[in-house]
Homo-oligomer: 546 residues x 2
């Protein structure tokens, strides 16, 4: 039996476009002789649709969309993810389901059993879990049809009561199918392969895994759908960060691919790069915007964001704004101009001296007798933020935020100043990773000026300022932050790893004290297993000593 795997990029709530895409894939697959086509989890409606799942008009559109798609399922069957109503009197009003469509109608419904509720996931908010599940029959096949997390019953903090795959295995399935909406992080693919292999062994059957591709604000789906044979070996790996339609053959008792599987090696930093490009592109495309604006300081972070934006949106759609102050060094302006030349983006130079002077003059009576401090530095940052937003308002360019994760972690940024923007492009990229990313971008030719990469980082908000004056060196800072954030370790355990106690205490305090700033930060393209934003929910008013 020939089976098509349809890895598509959906747009939440855009039923017309999504349905058109899905129908086209069904038609193509049928033409190519497939008997079954598999789409991703919640392909209907898009994921994460969040509280739109509480909107009855949205749900009606989902149901209508299913009916429409079913009409095209003649001579080919389709497995697709959709919300379905809970018709019992009790429990949440919806199930997260996999539907089998055939002969023009919904033939079978399998409801998701294991609902993730951690990090960016909040499925209990909307869905009732399925207390028990069975294999479905399709033609002469017994299929263990599962939805994403159904296969992720790990040990540890995200384990679930019961053992779904063990139960399904009792029915001796011929095939396991998992439809997924499994977001990218740079560690996730290896986990995913391992989890799928374990399920192949447990279920004693080959496995087809179809993931979503595409970005929804902060959440990026990498696609990279897979087929595994009975040994748990990859027979097919689909494209990363792109739509794809591929076919596998279920022959005898195992899955085979038309082409021999080519193992693709992906460098971690290349994955992060590709994820950000997709994140940027989809943010603009799905919002209906074309042009971006950002502040270009001559430093690493803004150069990186400018280069990424030029690649994602086209250099002609990127406006880089140089806003030198009296503290800006000559090389900053030159480095920024070099970047403009290397990328071919638009540029504008707006010196902030006069505006900063006007702020200081207006505030002089109120500040009489007080020494300059970070207040004046913040005024510069907010002046720049206001100029960038003015350009955004006047010309419709979307402001990109250029803060990195290390800065966001320790609060080394000005709210409403350099923390402004509609989307944070590298807010989930530590400074040490930002250097790697810059080198990766320069792999073929110098795009990010070498001087931007080698000079010591500085916010240039006062004479001779360097990041290392007020922060530990970035390799140490990032290592400590990684333990506190990604590993969720209390500071005592981080000290026990051998880091300097005073430094850990200071970094932990900075991290906790900046919670209120991050609350107002733009959405951040998530590329790590633990990004700031909804996936890391911390109380703001609390006594932190952990």
């Amino acid at each position: 039996m020939k089976i098509a795997l349809a890895q598509l990029n959906y747009h939440i709530g855009n039923f017309e476009q999504n349905t058109k895409k899905i129908v086209k894939a069904i038609t193509d697959a049928k033409e190519q002789g497939a008997e079954l086509i598999v789409f991703a989890e919640l392909a209907i409606g898009g994921y994460p649709a969040k509280d739109l799942l509480r909107n009855t008009a949205f749900l009606k559109a989902c149901y209508a969309s299913v009916d429409e798609i079913a009409k095209y399922c003649e001579g080919i069957a389709c497995i697709i993810g959709a919300p379905v109503p809970n018709k019992d009197a009790e429990g949440k009003p919806l199930f997260n389901a996999a539907l089998l469509l055939a002969d023009g109608e919904v033939k079978q419904v399998v409801k998701k059993s294991l609902l993730p509720d951690y990090d960016v996931f909040d499925e209990y908010r909307y869905f009732e879990p399925n207390p028990s599940s069975n294999c479905i029959k399709f033609k002469d096949l017994t299929i263990a049809l599962t939805v994403c997390e159904d296969l992720w019953d790990d040990d540890g903090p995200n384990s679930y009561v019961g053992d779904l795959m063990q139960d399904l295995a009792k029915e001796h399935p011929d095939l396991i199918i998992n439809i997924a909406a499994s977001p990218f992080s740079y560690t996730h693919f290896e986990n995913r392969k391992n989890v799928l292999s374990r399920n192949v062994i447990k279920g004693n059957a080959p496995l087809i895994y179809v993931n979503q591709v595409g970005a929804h604000t902060d959440i990026i789906f990498d696609g990279r759908s897979l087929a595994l044979n009975r040994k748990g070996e990859l027979v097919s790996e689909m494209k990363s960060f792109e739509e794809d339609l591929q076919f596998v053959e279920l022959k005898g008792i195992d899955l085979h691919s038309e082409q021999a599987h080519q193992s693709v090696e992906h460098q971690e930093i290349a994955l992060i790069h590709d994820a950000i490009i997709l994140g940027l592109r989809d943010y603009f495309q799905k919002s209906g915007f074309q042009k971006a604006v950002l502040g270009l300081s001559g430093g690493l972070d803004s150069a990186l964001v400018a280069a990424l934006a030029c690649e994602a949106l086209g250099a002609e759609n990127v406006l880089s704004v140089l806003m030198p102050s009296i503290y800006s060094s000559d090389h900053s302006l030159k480095d920024a101009l070099d970047l403009v030349e290397n990328t071919g983006c638009q540029k504008l130079i707006l010196p902030i001296k006069d505006i900063a002077a006007a702020f200081e003059a207006t505030l002089a009576p109120a500040f009489e007798g007080r020494n300059p401090d970070t207040t004046e530095e913040n005024i510069q940052a907010r002046t720049r933020g206001t100029l960038l937003m003015a350009l955004s308002n006047k010309f419709g360019n979307i402001l990109l935020n250029t803060s990195n994760k290390s800065e966001a972690a320790v609060g080394y940024g000005t709210l409403y100043g350099d923390m402004a923007g509609s989307l944070s492009v590298i807010g989930d990229v530590y400074k040490t990773q930002a250097y790697q990313l810059a080198k990766y971008i320069n792999r073929d030719r110098e795009i990010i000026p070498l001087n931007t990469i080698v000079k010591p980082p500085s916010a240039e908000l006062r004479p001779g300022q360097k990041d290392s004056d007020s922060l530990p060196e970035y390799d140490i800072l990032d290592s400590i932050l990684y333990q506190l954030i990604e590993k969720e370790k209390p500071y005592t355990e981080v000290i026990a790893l051998g880091f300097d106690e005073a430094t850990v205490l200071r970094v932990n305090k900075l991290l906790n004290n900046a919670e209120f700033k991050r609350f107002q930060a733009p959405p951040i393209l998530r590329v790590s297993p633990k990004a700031f934003g909804p996936g890391r929910a911390m109380p703001l008013v609390a006594k932190f000593s952990f």
Copy 2:
């Protein structure tokens, strides 16, 4: 048996202070002859502790705190809420539990069965639900001990599978105890009374309900703990928005209060007022801040916030900043100054003309040939935001945001401008409610100048501007918004209620288009059943037509 109800204000993560408070209540209750004292849900650790519940050091501190408190439970028993570890190999690592402490140790543990996951609640993120529960024995009593949501098994979208109270009723309890952390909204008390009465009937036993009091950033607990007799009548109602310790007597088969129950009538607007005062006070106290700053325009919203802040923090701690522009009317300045005089708060006048001119001069080459539009209005708003933040940075005053819910809904506000601030004070109060609140504040004497209340609302960002130029009248706007937000109705159903179709379409579009702005708004003191913020999660990049 004399039973104490301890309604306390906890501080998340502040174990030392919380434990001291709890121990004092135990000691006081014991001295007054109580045999049992009941505290709220998650009194240990505080609620909502969010992802601190994933921090092992935080959890250890919770467990140590329980052991410490248990030592004081000699000659008196205590029921208290705490997270407890899930010792099974499967499921989430914690339960949300009610502990019975007696004879210096933990005697019994009852785990919460029904975990709320809607609006601001996300308990599945942290806790495993208890699949079945039993009554506990204390002395010769059978007690149906429950945790908050355990009694909220409604019909409708928040119903749960099974019927916990019906199961517990089979054991013929002598008493139902519910420990709660049930946030305030202006509609919640009536619901709560009804739910508790229904459970009294269902469980055929009197009921003691102990709620938390106090605010945690956006979430405000109103306290107002209750005791109900077997008929479902109130025998005791504790203070609203204040700590309280009261006693009830379980005599024969029913509960009695020492004093006859005085039914307290609370006007809705008075409740909102008191909730905001507590929200403000706790935000400052629990963060360790004393002083506030805000922009005072002469309009209703900022006057209201100034008056509320003066009441909550003391007028001497409130700095009102008047920032007139060339478009400000004379009466605005006068109205603002009247408010300053009426409240006795600090004031500062910082005209923004020169700064706005410096911005426009700097931008002139870039804006050549373009007409003035909202860009220039936003520059004024952001100039004010920057001035306020400069004062905040220099003097340590916390910036209060003065936007109301109607504005936040339709995006009638400038990001990083009038949307700036650490806390939104009236962001869950519609404009029409803001007028009521102003009148309530003026109930004894004129605090908010009459002219501020009667003049037509205007942002004064261009000559002669009025809110009604670009928005429907507020009574219509707010009625439509209420249906879309609180009632979560799709726009088609709102039109069906009889509102003008074009107006509903426009308002719905404005509401959806402002999602990205609200994402970066400060936390909002929640007083309604559906506030903007984490309780209303919407995708940003989506096609909205619902």
